[in-house]
Symmetry: C3
């Protein structure tokens, strides 16, 4: 019997996604009790975290379990390459860390979203996939450059709560400006989940900020298979028109993935890619979503983030609920 | 119904202070049980902590609850300014962090005692006050440059245990030398609490090490209103004479708040501002108090810190008990 | 009544060691329940940790207790010297930290394996011994340059499980190459424990990598007293011949303890001190042991580490079980 991981929204069937959201909705209203008593989740953070760290710890504690957190500050460097001759800086191989931790904890979460090499390299999620391969317990993706599936689950639950039925509803996923190059993880995951829910998705970004080609193709197929649609536009006003959900987020430039300065230069002319009241007015009274953290008054104005259609804190709150459902499925 | 914060001793009425100390004394003898079962306290440390971190975690665990700790090592930079255009280094606004964390935890503790600007700026406790403003759960001050109210509660409990009645008792709050510029937090809080208890307080420091003018005025009023007195002297021998409590601590120079080198220069001639056996001999067999950490043989000698009248570890131990009382009041 | 610490395997009598291993074996099969309910273990890590950190936290949680972890990232510098005039960088004396923490937690673990001075200085374990001296609760050595007794307990349990009786069995403790200078802690502890179990121990290392002379003498005496033997050889092939346990590990050069470059230079000609299939073939079908972390394909090849005789993950897993036994003995 093989263990189950949760590495990508692409691993979920539509049925599994629905089941997870169903369970999350059910336990949100009514605490499920100490069903994970005696169970522990180890979390490895190779980048800073606020929501993920605290929402998972809250989830485990409320289910009677326990979290053990390790951050890269507490650890030496780890080697992800197979058959490496480890005469460099890495003190331990991921395979040994994963196998060891599997003796202590019941599941492992890994945030591994560093920019290490080219996009072709980083899109392979070498570190996460190594943990998944060598751990004998379930491994959960806590964000890579390719995906942030827990965030997308919370987003889907939030949309269900606000829109009831998602099929055919118009969601615009809008690139926003940001002073730093960002992971594509949350972007890819919400794109796939919205497609899987059969939404009418518009992906809007300036030229040069294309998402991963394979993720885009898979999302198009998912949308089609589930009665939805997916189109890409490069104009934000067109994209906003008629949207029932405006999902704002910044992501990095794949073409200049290993050249931060180049990306920064490109973004200097893109400062109008920001969500403001004028843009919101073009939508069909859209819900405003953002996975946070958000650069206020750069990616979106205070006015819209704190406005009546903003559900950004509902998204954050729902992290706990979907993660409880996930943990129950993986660990019970 | 508004939530209650614990940001400053100045927020407490005398009655509330007495109630807190009463409750702390009562639960110290007899464990109150798992009264905070299922509750969690999030703690944000922007500076190192030993006592605060461990005493709060101990308090929560003994009450059946849970602590989630985030240190600045685990986090990106946060923006406290309202309406900021966030194109700098701060990755998230305090308002979003506070509102998000409020969805996960039942109370938030914040240590935010960095020297950021001038005294006029830092005395506003911008970071702490932002958390308090935006969190929907109670916020606890874990030390700022202006106050360290949890320490002062523990100090008051320690004095009550040793002196029984505090009204009219002579407490000398004595500045000591220290190689580093220090927060005024613990100084202000014990000053206010001693005044509130109606003690006969002597604040003793070299010229140039005045405390915050507003805190001093408020403390004078509090002393007067509660049957006590507050005087300031600039001579340590005068200050020690007749003291029943000698409370030693170093604090920074407000005038040179943003000029560490200048403060260091001034302190070079103040090396005799140290508590030793000779100074203790001038007191009325005073209790020796210090909030720790203490620079041994700089601020006070080993002899007095380890002497028969030292209650420094009782102060530390009482942190757990007063904080349990505080958490029960804020969270039950 | 004095508290009991666990600072070194040298503190254990043979009888005490047997009792600990007996208890560990017993609770491994059958969870002992919440016997440490309400108890907490404070852990201070002055160096990174994976196994120790997670196995102790797992052990406490499974026994119903709680861990509070402080790493040097979260703390200021601490002063271990008696009577120091603390006008330098250290913000607090170890004696104050130890006495304070003793008010909050029921036991303290300390990892203090930095290279601070000469071998003569570092072999004194100043930091660990200061905590043990000043804490009023039991102190556990989580690794110093002199010992790592918890690892040796796990190793002994692993050998018992695989070999049943240890008396007279041939164990070779083999130095391996490594790009960094390493602590002698795990080396010393397994040496003493193997000697204490009456094993026939061969310590094998290149010239210049002698272990601490006093530890070696004590180990020889222990071996003799318990019906075993201890010999030192400087040739790895001789050492491997007939071994029933091949325990591989790298350790630092005592002679060049404060000169990392010199050690690195010496090690350049020692690259054949590596465990590979050819070396294993010389043994009597030996168990392969290593305390981890291991530099794969430098200290030992993937082939032998992942081979049928490798018990490296059993060693890691047994950390939890022996530590549960230890905690029960110290805290119940």
């Amino acid at each position: 019997m093989s263990k189950r991981d949760f590495l990508s929204t692409a691993d979920l069937s539509r049925r599994e996604l629905d089941d997870l959201l169903e369970l999350a909705a059910r336990i949100k209203g009514k605490r499920p009790g100490q069903v994970l008593s005696g169970k522990s989740l180890g979390m490895l953070f190779f980048q800073p975290s606020l929501r993920t760290r605290v929402s998972f710890e809250t989830a485990m504690v409320q289910l009677g379990g326990h979290c053990i957190n390790l951050s890269s500050n507490d650890l030496y460097e780890l080697e992800p390459q197979e058959q490496a001759v480890m005469d460099g800086r890495a003190e331990e191989h991921v395979m040994d860390a994963a196998r060891t931790l599997s003796r202590y904890v019941d599941a492992l979460g890994v945030r591994a979203a560093a920019r290490v090499g080219t996009w072709e390299f980083d899109r392979q999620e070498l570190l996460l996939r190594s943990y998944a391969r060598y751990a004998s317990v379930p491994v959960i993706n806590l964000e890579t450059n390719m995906g942030h599936p827990c965030q997308a689950l919370a987003d889907a639950l939030t949309m269900r709560e606000n829109l009831v039925s998602l099929k055919g509803r118009k969601l615009t996923l809008l690139w926003c400006n940001h002073p730093e190059p960002k992971s594509l993880g949350p972007t890819h995951s919400i794109l796939e989940v919205a497609a899987m829910m059969g939404m009418d998705v518009t992906l809007a970004h300036p030229l040069g900020f294309e998402v991963d080609a394979e993720v885009l193709e898979r999302s198009k197929t998912l949308a089609r298979d589930n009665g939805g649609a997916l189109q890409v536009v490069n104009d934000k006003d067109t994209a906003a028109r008629g949207a029932e959900v405006l999902y704002a987020r910044s992501w990095g430039c794949i073409k200049h993935w290993d050249d931060d300065e180049r990306e920064a230069m490109v973004k200097r002319s893109l400062q109008d890619w920001k969500v403001d009241e004028a843009l919101m007015a073009k939508t069909k009274d859209a819900l405003l979503m953002h996975p946070l953290p958000v650069r206020r008054n750069v990616a979106a104005t205070d006015g819209v983030l704190d406005g009546p259609r903003s559900v950004i804190y509902e998204q954050a709150a729902n992290r706990t609920h979907v993660q409880k459902a996930l943990l129950m499925q993986l660990l019970k």
